[in-house]
């Protein structure tokens, strides 16, 4: 097997607006698509990571002697072997590549072993003697800022205040609540893995599953103390990401081992290690107060939001900004007071996960909207529609929403769908508890709930967010063919399909090859913030336009549609590379949180229908319907796939998914104890897709991946509340929350 992924060619036609098959689909169903964990190299050895068993401890000593004596061991490395800077991080360089004198979370990397077999490496790791002095961990996010400082600057990573309108408003009706969101895991199925190959020039080639090649490259090069051109990354097959691959995992470690041993080094985490090896969704505590008039118009929203960033900052700062700026939801509110805090603790580090701060806020503000409806005696959908933002509404940041914001329409769409019939077949498989045979319908109560959410699309707060694309056309065997190259990561979402579709539409070329993604071309930006179709799609479109301009020049002013391009081009090649950026954003004012910080907003609404066995506390989601505006569905099938997959992750957070910690230790690092939805848990979904083009975006697209993850969770919890009459202020809702035992 070659280390460089296959070029993706596919003769299936289809421009934008159609749903051609994925160019990597055949390889994937045949088991021939090379994921990072599948890579193999002549002479390669295996790398493993020794991790801290303690959430907070001082390292007194490390003794490698016995580990080095294990036959088959090539290297045992510690922080002393980090050739460059031993600190990295997405926003703050605060995380050591290998721990020096302190470990700040359970699972922190302390030492590396390179060996001839994974089992040899495991044996050697058991012989590394690390003496720890265990310290009292900081674990409470609400008090962490005043607790033992875990980093030089203290435990507050970021505070974002929002001050808009009156700060001492009064209202006819006031509802308050305290909400909690548990720590969710991305649980991508393809574990962290990669292969580092030492190169003749003293550099290293890394084949890796990641979300952002260039940011990895910069961080790896800095840790290795090498110039960028000596650290070359190529994207291997990625088995899902959902935010969990934004931070480094084994990238530097594998390269260190490879450079040290001069051998190719493969590292593959197992599932338990994967739970320790990547950041999670921030757990949150959210205090809200909503004031409204008697007819249900919001007067003010006040909120204090705490997000637990865990031991290292990762992208906590940006998550805090999202939770704050999107903290009132897709509603018009003139008076807003929000304080959102992200803190360090000794819990597992948290960072990006699909929805990125908007999920935590979404659960709280939607729970509040239901509470408000209840207090007013209003229908929960009516109270939302009464306050729904529209195009032209003003965000709590003062930013005007300047493209479609069909919040009321989305709510009406899900509300007007026919309801599923109450099950009369007594098929156990459709009951809460399923074939565990816990009920035959007695004690089962149905509930219906609604929610709507808002998500920013692309990077915010003045970040220079761009992508680079290269498009080339030439004639091969009498046929005009095109090739597209970017460094934007395909993680499963279907960017490779979209790129082909755009080239076909723009250039009228049917055969489009997608080159492997790597760092030989400029930055493609992160596969996150629902941004790749928008930004890399925009870059590919712009590169096609540059190619067309070149062709027009060749044609000497003749109309291209009337020119035989095969003849025109002959043996020539037109090859254009462009950098494309979306419109600029601004930082938030640090005192008031005001500013045009976001590029675009996406909206989705859900209706959930649940059956709850109120005696056992078991929940069956019977149906989960969604309406979402996607601006322009470039690939309708892939759009549905995103909505279905995103809704499923929201369902997971609603009723089952949580990394449980106690004293900073993870209690359930396995798929036996961390449950994600199976096909039995996911109900049928009826989906409405609106296409209200955003005039600022290429083709009018609106980011698709994240909005459905936001509204799915609160809709399901609202349905469980409707069935049980319980307040349910924490997700995931567990059986004992329902039975009260």
């Amino acid at each position: 097997m070659s280390l460089t992924p296959a070029e993706l060619t596919s003769s299936v036609t289809g421009g934008i607006g159609t749903s051609p098959q994925r160019p990597d689909g055949n390889l994937k169903v045949r088991g021939e698509f090379a994921y990072a964990s599948d890579l193999w190299h002549e002479d390669m050895i295996w790398g493993s990571t020794l991790r801290s068993p303690h959430p907070y401890a001082r390292i007194v000593s490390i003794d490698l002697t016995e580990a080095l004596e294990v036959p088959g061991v090539y290297a045992v490395l510690t922080h002393e072997d980090v050739p460059g800077a031993n600190l990295y991080g997405l926003e703050h360089k605060d995380q050591p590549v290998l721990a020096v004198d302190v470990v700040r979370y359970q699972g922190e990397a302390v030492a590396l072993v390179g060996a001839d077999h994974p089992e040899t490496a495991t044996r050697a790791m058991k012989r590394i003697k690390v003496e720890y002095e265990v310290l009292e961990p900081v674990v409470d996010m609400e008090t962490a800022a005043d607790d033992t400082p875990l980093h030089p600057g203290g435990n507050l990573v970021r505070h974002v205040p929002i001050r808009r309108g009156g700060q001492a408003p009064t209202a006819d009706v006031v509802v308050t609540g305290r909400y909690e969101v548990g720590m969710q895991d991305q649980a991508f199925l393809g574990p962290e893995s990669g292969l580092a190959v030492p190169a003749e020039d003293g550099g290293v080639d890394l084949y890796i599953a990641t979300q952002w090649l260039h940011v990895d490259q910069g961080q790896v090069a800095s840790a290795l103390g090498m110039p960028l051109d000596k650290v070359r990354l190529t994207l291997s097959g990625v088995g899902g990401a959902f935010g969990g691959r934004e931070d480094l995992s084994m990238q530097v470690h594998a390269c260190m081992l490879a450079l040290h041993t001069r051998k190719p080094v493969k590292m593959v985490y197992n599932r338990e290690e994967s739970f320790y090896g990547h950041v999670h969704r921030h757990p949150a505590v959210l205090h809200y107060e909503h004031g409204a008039t008697n007819d249900g118009k919001l007067v003010y929203v006040k909120a204090r939001i705490f997000l637990d960033g865990g031991a290292y900052a990762s992208s906590t700062g940006a998550v805090v900004a999202n939770a704050a700026t999107l903290g009132v939801g897709p509603y018009e509110v003139d008076n807003v007071t929000i304080d959102c805090y992200g803190v360090y603790t000794n819990n597992p580090p948290c960072g990006a996960m699909r929805g990125f701060g908007a999920v935590q806020a979404g659960f709280a503000y939607e729970s509040q909207m239901d509470k408000l409806a209840d207090a007013l005696g209003m229908d929960p959908v009516d109270v939302r529609i009464a306050n729904a933002m529209t195009e032209g509404s003003v965000m709590p940041t003062g930013q005007v929403v300047d493209s479609a914001a069909p919040v009321a329409q989305l709510l009406k769409l899900v509300k007007d769908k026919p309801l599923p019939p109450v099950s009369t077949t007594l098929d156990l498989r459709s009951m809460p508890g399923g074939v565990s045979n816990t009920t035959h319908g007695e004690g089962v109560v149905r509930g219906i709930g609604y929610a709507v959410g808002i998500k920013n699309v692309c990077f915010s707060e003045g970040y220079d967010d761009y992508s680079t694309a290269r498009v080339r056309v030439q004639v091969i065997n009498g046929e005009l063919v095109a090739l597209a190259h970017t460094a934007a990561c395909e993680v499963g979402q279907g960017l490779v399909t979209i790129m082909q579709q755009i080239v076909r539409t723009e250039l009228g070329v049917q055969r489009v090859t997608i080159l492997p993604m790597d760092t030989s071309i400029g930055n493609g930006g992160s596969t996150s913030a629902s941004r790749q179709t928008y930004v890399t799609g925009g870059a590919v479109k712009a590169a096609c336009a540059a190619v067309r301009d070149k062709l027009a020049k060749l044609a000497g002013g003749r109309d291209l549609s009337e020119v035989d391009l095969v003849e025109l081009l002959g043996d020539d090649v037109v090859d254009e590379t462009v950098e494309w950026r979306h419109r600029a954003t601004e930082p938030l004012d640090p005192e008031t949180g005001q500013g045009n910080a976001h590029v675009q907003y996406g909206f989705a609404a859900h209706r959930a229908v649940v059956d709850v066995d109120v005696e056992l506390g078991l929940v069956k989601v019977v149906e989960l319907d969604c309406a979402q505006d996607v601006g322009n569905a470039l690939n309708p099938q892939a759009v549905l796939g995103q909505i279905q997959g995103g809704s499923a992750q929201g369902l997971g957070l609603a009723v089952m998914e949580e990394i449980q910690t106690s004293g900073g230790k993870v209690r359930n690092p396995s798929f036996t104890d961390y449950l994600i939805p199976t096909v039995l848990d996911m109900p049928p979904m009826s989906i409405d897709v609106l296409e209200l083009a955003d005039p600022n975006a290429p083709y009018g697209v609106r980011g698709v991946g994240e909005p459905p993850t936001i509204s799915s969770t609160p809709a399901i919890v609202a349905a469980i509340r409707a069935a049980t009459g319980l307040a349910l202020t924490r997700v995931p809702v567990r059986p004992e929350h329902i039975t009260g035992t």
């Binding site: 097997m1 193999w40 393809g190 574990p191 593959v268 499963g492 796939g641 997959g645 798929f671 996911m682």
Partner: protein
Amino acid sequence: MRVTVTVNGEQRRADDVWEGESLLFLLRERLGLPGSKNACEQGECGSCTVYLDDVPVCSCLVAAGQVQDREVRTVEGLAEGDRLDPVQEAFVEAGAVQCGFCTPGLVVAAHDLLDRVPRPSDPEIREALAGNLCRCTGYEKILDAVRLAAARR
């Protein structure tokens, strides 16, 4: 130890296999067949599903030594040359593949289901695939793919 096994119709041999190695490791790391996936290695996700003597198993739970002289069929053995199996074809067409890490296991599980039950009901499909996790799709298009494959067979 040495293990001799028939994989996808071919007699294969591996030397120096460790006691603790699984069938999954044998396939992926010793026989050059990484199609079966390693999402949990604990029997919880189904991504490593293969046929062992015609019965689907989680290959991560089977010791390599246990397959001595037996027959294994992996996802790599389902297509005939360039011609995909109808289940594989349906997965691509229905959009049931996103990252694809669950796909090999699901394809084998669905293949087995349709061999046993040519026209499965939705609850039967759900039950048969309940041991296969997918994190990307929310399963809707996987159900579509199985229905499509069933209709075509």
